[in-house]
């Protein structure tokens, strides 16, 4: 567990370093370019550092969440250590909650820390991101990551080892996101909802998904035979 934490901490530190070298400072800001066709001078638009960071670290965070959740239970079944936990005077609910909490807190810590550092450096740049927008981006990435942790945790109750869990989780995530994108595009084109409605539906859906996955994982773990 501690090893896994340090592993991802290292990955994020590396990513941050690469990102900072690649996108900071956004030197292009001061460069005045001439448009050859019109002969007018303009400063080109530069994507703020933080947006670039969120775009690729969000993807990595989802992968980290997947790897965090997949060996929640099945890894211990595989290594036979689950029997050590289950036969101690600790309730299964507590075992499951502790494991989930460790993963969620660990990922939040790593992602929050590195994003905070990037956001701080971003704010020093001439072209910077809106703070509120940045926090919203971080929150949505974290929510997605926690949903992935809960989902892969739920799957890991039923599978026998980590590899199996990864396979099932990836299959489910791909299937859901593809079919989800298809359905949403159809529905959106039919209803053409406003942005507010879309955001509300998204938030409600995320909360529902979080609660559903959390409870089903907990109940499944409590009733499973090992």
């Amino acid at each position: 567990m501690r090893g896994k934490f340090y592993f991802w901490l290292g990955i994020y530190a590396g990513l941050m370093l690469i990102g900072l070298i690649r996108w900071s400072p956004n030197q292009a800001y001061n460069v005045v370019t001439t448009d050859f066709t019109t002969g007018m001078e303009f400063t080109p638009f530069v994507v703020p550092l933080f947006i670039s960071w969120i775009n690729f670290s969000g993807f990595i965070t989802l992968i980290a969440a997947l790897f965090g959740g997949v060996d929640l239970v099945s890894d211990e079944v595989d290594k036979n250590t689950l029997s050590f936990l289950l036969t101690k005077p600790i309730s299964r609910t507590r075992i499951y909650l502790t494991k989930l909490l460790l993963n969620v807190v660990g990922l939040t810590l790593i992602f929050g820390l590195s994003s905070g550092v990037v956001l701080f450096i971003d704010q020093l740049q001439p072209q910077r991101v809106n703070l509120l927008e940045a926090l919203g981006d971080m929150l949505s990435v974290l929510t997605a990551a926690i949903i992935v942790i809960f989902l892969s945790g739920l799957i890991s109750v039923f599978t026998r080892n980590t590899l199996q869990t990864i396979a099932v989780a990836v299959a489910i995530l791909l299937g859901v996101s593809l079919s989800g994108a298809f359905v949403i595009s159809k529905v959106a084109s039919l209803l053409t909802p406003t942005v507010e409605v879309g955001v509300t539906i998204g938030i409600l859906g995320a909360i529902g998904l979080l609660c559903g996955l959390f409870w089903s994982g907990l109940i499944a773990f409590n009733h499973k035979e090992f």
């Binding site: 250590t81 689950l82 050590f84 936990l85 289950l86 036969t87 101690k88 005077p89 035979e225 090992f226």
Partner: protein, 331 residues
Amino acid sequence: MLSQTSNWSKIAGQNFSSTYTTETQNDLALELDRLTCAYGKKVVVNNLSLHVPIGSVYGFLGPNGAGKTTTIKTLVGMRPLQSGRATLLGMDVATQGLEIRQYVGYMAETNNLYGHMKVSEMVEVARRMSHRWNSQSVNHYLDLFQLPHKEKIRKLSKGMKGQLALTLVLGSEPDLLILDEPTSDLDPLKRYEFLNQIVREVSSAGRTIFFSSHNLSEVEQIADRVAIVNEGRLIVEDDLDSLKSREKAVKTAFDRPVWTHDLEAIPGVRRVLQEGRRFRLLVRGEAEQVVAELHNLGASSVEIVDMNLEAIFVAYLQDCQQGRLHESLPE
């Protein structure tokens, strides 16, 4: 007047028997009442009833696949109770699993310790998870088994892992120890040390040990009560001494030719094994009557010999396979 006396004795007798039964119930560390477990439609444990007295060393015997591990997993809370009742230390498995696990120590068949941890870290983890903890005894056993504190568990030998697991189980000061095949991974020398350790622990603190095994010579050394199961059913449960005094072999020889079925017809004889011109009769209960009967048949030599647990075990299993279970059930 006479009838009144008999009434009195009746009442007294009833009183006596009722108090006696409650006392025996209180004296049980583990009681199974028609426990049934199934994987899907496959019934693995079938109407199993066991009675383990407090302070006893109880051997739970049976061939591979008899349902021993499944039974134990149900007792320690790894499988939900499907049917029947199981009471450990007076607490019901179905409703009081958490409390039971405070007072019951369980050692798994295969190593279930965290391989990436050092011995000292594992001890700390076990301490935090246990209800009671005796670090003095843990240190004592760590020294006794010469377990290196700084070594990672995955680098220990199988035997050392087993000894560490036992140390941790004993450290939580359980009133009932449930050991699943505790010695299957150990070499003979280690096994001897291990058994000695268990017996010493029990005798010192009045703890109960319930252990499964198919190594019968080792069970014979330490158990004082045994149960034999096969295909999920109980074949026999008894004190080892009374089992051994009940199950005897009679060696006999005749000067004249004899039919095996003549010998099988003698009441009390369960099986006749022919060894050249000699016969070996497996007898339950009245060996003396069989001896007398053999003398009547004109046997030239008759000798009663004790059977060891292994021979008794094999005899019961053979009975079972031949569908003679209904005859062989005692009482």
